[in-house]
């Protein structure tokens, strides 16, 4: 067995994780997509998507999770979602029709809250240096 497979939890947890991670991701994306209609909004969606990766981290160890998701990706998604957020702010400022389009606003809302929260949450948990695995 390779050293990566030795890390993490037991075979049972790993197998269950493999089976469920896809569903968790899908559910997270669903909650984020319908964020503008449901209470809590895209916030919960971002957290659920982040939890999928944290699930992988708990079961397989940090290295596997980090191989799926690089810190550059997180940085870019934080930056992009913050920029979309600014775009919405400017939409409020200008009040023009192309900004106030009824479709763009929910999509943007979903994007910022979903992406941003996912990235921040994951960055906080996954990239924390206090973990022993980071050595």
């Amino acid at each position: 067995m390779s050293p990566i497979q030795e890390k993490g939890m037991s075979l049972i947890v790993k197998t269950v994780t493999k089976l469920t991670v896809g569903f968790i991701l899908l559910y997270g994306v669903y909650v984020a997509l319908t964020g503008h209609l449901s209470p809590g909004g895209g916030f919960a969606g971002g957290v659920i998507v982040a939890l999928a990766f944290i699930h992988v981290m708990l079961a397989f160890g940090k290295e596997v999770a980090l191989r799926r998701l690089r810190s550059q990706t997180l940085r870019v998604s934080i930056g992009v979602s913050a920029l979309i957020f600014l775009y919405i702010v400017m939409a409020g400022f200008s009040g023009r029709s192309i900004f106030n389009c009824e479709i763009t606003i929910p999509i943007c809302e979903m994007a910022i809250v979903g992406f941003g929260l996912f990235a921040i949450f994951t960055a906080l948990v996954l990239l924390s240096k206090t973990d022993k695995d980071a050595e």
């Binding site: 550059q72 940085r75 870019v76 934080i78 930056g79 913050a82 920029l83 009040g95």
Partner: protein
């Protein structure tokens, strides 16, 4: 005024684009930060030019009428500080292009720098008190991380102290805002001021004043609350020290204090005497403690405390002339203190140390740093033709005019004290015989030299601000800014009139 929100949007765009450019493209973050701060400098000049004629520019966010909606207000006082802040920030950003090369992960520095600039500009244009608090926190939190940027033991310790003290200050301010909201049921500052004029202020307002004095006093580093400043300002990288000392303590501390106490609460005798006491303490304690310092940046940091005392003294005396002097000194101090801190960075590079005992012969080693440092030191000591002399003179004259000769005497004594400690510290460092030990002996590149020269020119040109002439826009702006504070609660009428 359509331009006002861009003061916050532009630095935020830069702050979020920089992480995307990230590590791969090393040249992009410094250029982005410099471009953003340059745009801000131009924008603030344009807004100031408009405000000179129309007195106040109000922007209603989303076209919701205040007090229900959020408003952004750029009056003469905001514009005066905006122009100063953004000019200094642009020069500091250019300086850091060269200076920050010795650090790793510099994109983080530029992202935080832009974020801090967004926070500071936000505080200056905030029309309601809660937005003021939010932007103040953005600037302060970016500041904590910037202080720790060196990640050495001392800088982490300094950042931790700054963060803890800053958090305590924020809690006081937040609590004060909460109480104030419960009393006035509005967050808009103009509306709040109108409410205060119509109703007698109960004891709650006194309590809130004390909370704000502690909170903003801590951000401004007035003396009983100053203990974080010497650590934070001396351990940060030079451009950050220049931003913190030159800009941050004035905007987050003095500007916010003045705005709330003069324009919202209305200036009272009690606040005047408290401000004067704190100011005299700051001037004396900062000045005396600066004497014992062996670290050049700690010396500059203590001198910041002392000079902030002058500004607070002018505000505390509260006559139109004194307020004019205080704001004039605020502008001057922003310029020459950021110049001194930029100099300290370049001196540290030349001689490899910040220990005053081991720095020597800077003028012969590197004339640009040496002479600009000399000009800044002359200005802060109050040498006659330079800006610092006129602002201190006006504050002293205002004290005499207000029939407070003791204060005038103390201000004059502290001015001599300033001269003494700068003379003692900088004479050997600038003119002393070259010891030729340590350090890279590396000369500052153009990106470091040009900002220092420009700031030195501005420190000399600062004196022009008192020339009364209809062509002198800066003087008109300064006078208008002083009258915004002297008019006190008429601020409410002014804002309502502009809407």
């Amino acid at each position: 005024m359509q331009l006002v929100p861009y003061l916050i949007i532009v630095p935020l765009v830069a702050a979020f684009l920089i992480p995307i450019a990230g590590k791969r493209m090393k040249d992009i973050p410094p250029v982005l930060a410099a471009c953003a701060s340059f745009t801000l400098a131009i924008l603030s000049c344009l807004i100031a030019a408009a405000v000179i004629t129309c007195k106040v520019a109000v922007y209603k966010v989303g076209n919701w009428p205040p007090p229900a909606g959020i408003s952004m207000v750029a009056d003469s006082l905001s514009c005066l500080v905006l122009v100063t802040v953004n000019t200094v920030a642009f020069l500091v950003a250019v300086y850091s292009i060269d200076y920050m090369k010795k650090y790793t992960d510099t994109w983080k520095f530029y992202a935080l720098f832009s974020l801090m600039l967004a926070g500071i500009n936000g505080v200056l244009v905030a029309g309601d008190i809660f937005n003021l608090y939010v932007f103040l926190e953005i600037a302060a939190i970016a500041g904590y991380f910037l202080v720790a940027f060196g990640v050495e033991a001392e800088s982490l310790e300094a950042a931790f102290k700054y963060a803890v003290m800053g958090a305590v200050a924020s809690v006081f301010i937040f609590l004060g805002i909460g109480f104030l909201y419960s009393y006035t049921s509005t967050l808009n500052m103009a509306d709040m001021a109108a409410f205060m004029t119509m109703n007698n202020s109960p004891e709650l307002v006194v309590f809130v004043s004390v909370l704000f004095l502690m909170g903003f006093g801590l951000k401004a580093a007035l003396v009983p609350f100053h203990s974080w400043l010497p650590y934070a300002h001396s351990q940060a990288p030079a451009p950050v020290s220049a931003m913190l000392s030159g800009v941050s303590i004035k905007v987050l501390g003095i500007y916010a204090l003045a705005r709330i106490f003069f324009n919202v609460f209305g200036f009272s005798h009690a606040i005047s005497s408290i401000l004067i006491t704190l100011a005299v303490l700051s001037m004396l304690v900062g000045g005396l403690l600066a004497f014992g310092q062996t670290d050049i940046k700690r010396l500059f940091a203590y001198s910041s405390i002392s000079q902030i005392g002058y500004i607070a003294l002018g505000l505390g005396v509260g006559t139109p002339l004194a307020i004019f002097g205080a704001l004039f000194h605020l502008v001057n101090h922003s310029i020459f203190k950021s110049l001194l801190f930029l100099n300290s960075g370049s001196i540290e590079e030349i001689s490899g140390t910040r220990d005053l005992g081991r720095i020597s012969g800077i003028i012969s080693k590197e004339p640009v740093t040496g002479y600009t440092n000399l000009i800044a030191a002359f200005s802060i000591c109050g040498m006659p033709p330079l800006g610092g002399f006129w602002s201190k003179l006006i504050i002293i004259l205002a004290c005499i005019q207000a029939n407070r000769p003791v204060l005038a005497f103390i201000a004059a004594i502290v001015s001599i004290l300033t001269l003494a400690y700068y003379f003692r510290a900088l004479t050997p460092a600038l003119f002393g015989k070259e010891k030729g030990e340590g350090g890279s002996g590396q000369k500052a590149g153009w990106a470091m030299a040009i900002p220092m020269v420009v700031l030195a020119v501005l420190a000399i040109a600062g004196a022009l601000l008192i020339v009364p002439s209809s062509a002198n826009g800066a003087h008109i702006l300064l006078k208008d800014a002083a009258s915004v504070l002297t008019n006190g609660k008429n601020y409410a009428m002014m804002i309502m009139g502009a809407m």
